[in-house]
């Protein structure tokens, strides 16, 4: 971002449609709206369009096939090209980079941008904030060098940084594959790739992949990359602990049972200087909840998700939600739903019809994703990895034992645990510990956990930003 961009940006922006997130869902919605002449402002926390899945390198860097990309990234490049075509000077799309949305009302999005408090006024809102990695606490997961799978993707694909020399990849779900191939592309030795699900459980995903041409091609590409580099996915294995002096130097790995519970006597030590852990994704629903959208718990889609109707509309008539915030489904789902939301908004603004092909494509992509991801729904037994002295809330340094004591003394609800020990009260606002905190403190099934408490500011911003917020 150049300095000129900053000075040109007004404190109050106006648009027909405000979009949160410049990933596939936000880009698809924006491009379709812009093509119809609708003025769109897109707020994104990153520095370039693409989102986490289609992360672009900083301006001035080009991949040119150095880090190999899966076939689906062609769709990403096309989407980015179409979006950025409309985002040029004089185009219908204005992309605000590095924008942190901290409050929202229908028709209004407040955000911090380069330390300045700004407001976007708009008619409709499309929420495409995406998702973040689901973290499962285990001993040593706070050591520097232990990062999420998504963090490794950002490092390699977003900044061209080599994560380490010897990497261990652990977790569950389809995202382990791109994590491994990114590491290989960066010249990192992948010492092991551990999938906690058993091979039998994962086989349930096969029909959904086999009957979906794009997913099938994608899966074949990943298998070829792994095979070429002699990396074998170990099913039913995970990390038990990480150790090291000031940073990760080795990991204890072992087998887990069908529920994800660690099996004693299977431990093995493996040397590594970086660990990428990816136990699936958690939908980012905070902005939607603040706007008044309803939520429901869908374990297959990663937990609490926003409820939308057949055209991506939330309980609030002017607020639409697409992609991961409605439940984890991947880039194909997000872009299809983004187009659908745009078509529904265009009917209201321009009187055009919503093509049935757009509706059926969004439904078909969502159906395919649901049937594939069912094989990787979070394993409850993985919560047994954390010992009593393992930190569960990283912001406040709260151990599992303290969270358990707080639950015993104050009650089993998420609110009671938070008040009882301050877990989940730090700057991440329970985004990291929240998806497992209540289950680890009380033993409740993760599917029965409370809906997250959403507070303003939705992300920590300076008090100056809050006090000077335009109205």
């Amino acid at each position: 971002m150049s300095g000129a961009d900053l000075t040109q940006l007004d404190t109050v922006l106006e648009a027909d449609v405000g979009i949160v997130g410049a990933g596939p869902g936000g880009m698809a919605a924006a491009a379709r709206l812009a093509a119809a002449g609708v003025r769109v402002v897109v707020l994104d926390e990153g520095q370039r369009a693409g989102g986490q899945i289609y992360r672009q390198l900083p301006v001035g860097m080009h991949n040119h096939g150095v880090v190999q990309e899966p076939p689906s990234h062609d769709d990403g490049h096309n989407l980015i090209q179409s979006f950025e075509g409309h985002a040029k000077d004089g185009g219908e799309i204005e992309l605000v980079r590095g924008a942190t949305v901290w409050d929202a009302q229908p028709g209004r999005l407040w955000f911090e941008h380069d330390g300045v408090s700004r407001l976007l006024r708009c008619g409709h809102i499309v929420l495409a904030p995406g998702a973040y990695d689901r973290c499962i606490p285990f001993p040593g997961w706070t050591l520097p060098g232990v990062v999420t799978a998504g963090a490794l993707q950002v490092m390699v694909r977003g900044f061209g940084v080599v994560p380490g020399k010897r990497a261990l990849v652990v977790g569950s779900g389809p995202l382990l594959l791109p994590t491994v191939t990114s590491l290989l592309g960066a010249g990192v030795e992948v010492v092991a790739a551990l999938e906690a699900s058993s091979r039998m459980r994962a086989l349930r995903a096969v029909p959904a992949v086999a009957f979906h041409a794009a997913r099938r091609r994608e899966a074949m590409w990943y298998m070829k990359q792994l095979w070429r580099n002699s990396v074998k996915l170990q099913w039913g294995w995970t990390v038990f602990a990480c150790e090291g002096d000031g940073r990760v130097e080795r990991a204890i790995i072992g087998k887990v049972d069908a529920h994800g519970r660690p099996r004693k006597g299977t431990e093995r030590t493996i040397e590594c200087d970086v660990v990428g852990a990816g136990f699936g994704l958690v939908p980012s629903i905070e902005v939607g909840m603040r706007l008044g959208a309803d939520t429901h718990m869908l374990p297959v889609r990663g937990g609490h998700c926003l409820v939308v109707d057949g055209e991506q509309r939330t309980a609030v008539a002017t607020v639409f939600a697409v992609g991961e915030t409605c439940g984890i489904g991947g880039a194909e789902v997000a872009s299809a739903e983004g187009e659908l939301a745009a078509a529904a908004i265009l009917r209201e603004l321009r009187g055009t019809t919503v093509a049935s092909a757009v509706v059926s494509r969004a439904r078909a992509e969502r159906r395919a994703a649901d049937s594939m991801l069912g094989a990787f729904a979070p394993l409850p037994g993985l919560h047994d990895l954390a010992r009593p002295d393992t930190i569960v809330c990283r912001c406040e340094d709260i151990t599992r034992l303290r969270a358990q004591e707080a639950a015993a003394m104050h009650g089993d609800s998420m609110r009671a645990i938070k008040i009882g020990c301050r877990a989940g009260m730090g700057p991440c606002q329970a985004r990291i510990c929240g998806p497992s905190l209540q289950a680890m403190a009380t033993g409740v099934n993760a599917c029965a956990m409370d809906v997250p408490v959403v507070q303003v500011p939705l992300k920590p911003v300076s008090s100056e930003t809050i006090l000077t917020a335009p109205q």
Partner: protein
């Protein structure tokens, strides 16, 4: 060992300091990625225990990579490097 992937193109050099050591970054780097490429994975001391912490999510969610820039606490993974910037460890020291 961390570092940079070769062959992706070069960008303008940006020099800043972290805890009094000079770090060579590139235009467009976040503080977190410049430090990681430099081999510095610890950027913060945790709030009550003072344990070493570094990047966890790398996308602005976890606030575990907090650093102090000119007296202001920021996420090192979402804050871009600027020439001459003075960056200090976040959290308890």
């Amino acid at each position: 060992m961390s570092g940079r992937i070769a062959g992706l193109g070069d960008r303008e050099l940006v020099v800043f300091t972290f805890d009094d050591q000079e770090v060579n970054a590139r235009q467009g780097d976040t503080i977190a990625m410049a430090l990681w490429a430099h081999g510095q994975v610890t950027v913060r001391n945790s709030s009550s225990e003072g344990q070493p912490r570094g990047v966890l999510c790398n996308m602005g969610i976890c606030y575990d990579c907090l650093v102090v820039v000119d007296g202001v606490t920021v996420r090192s993974c979402t804050t871009l490097v600027k020439p001459g910037m003075t960056v200090g460890r976040g959290g308890k020291s």
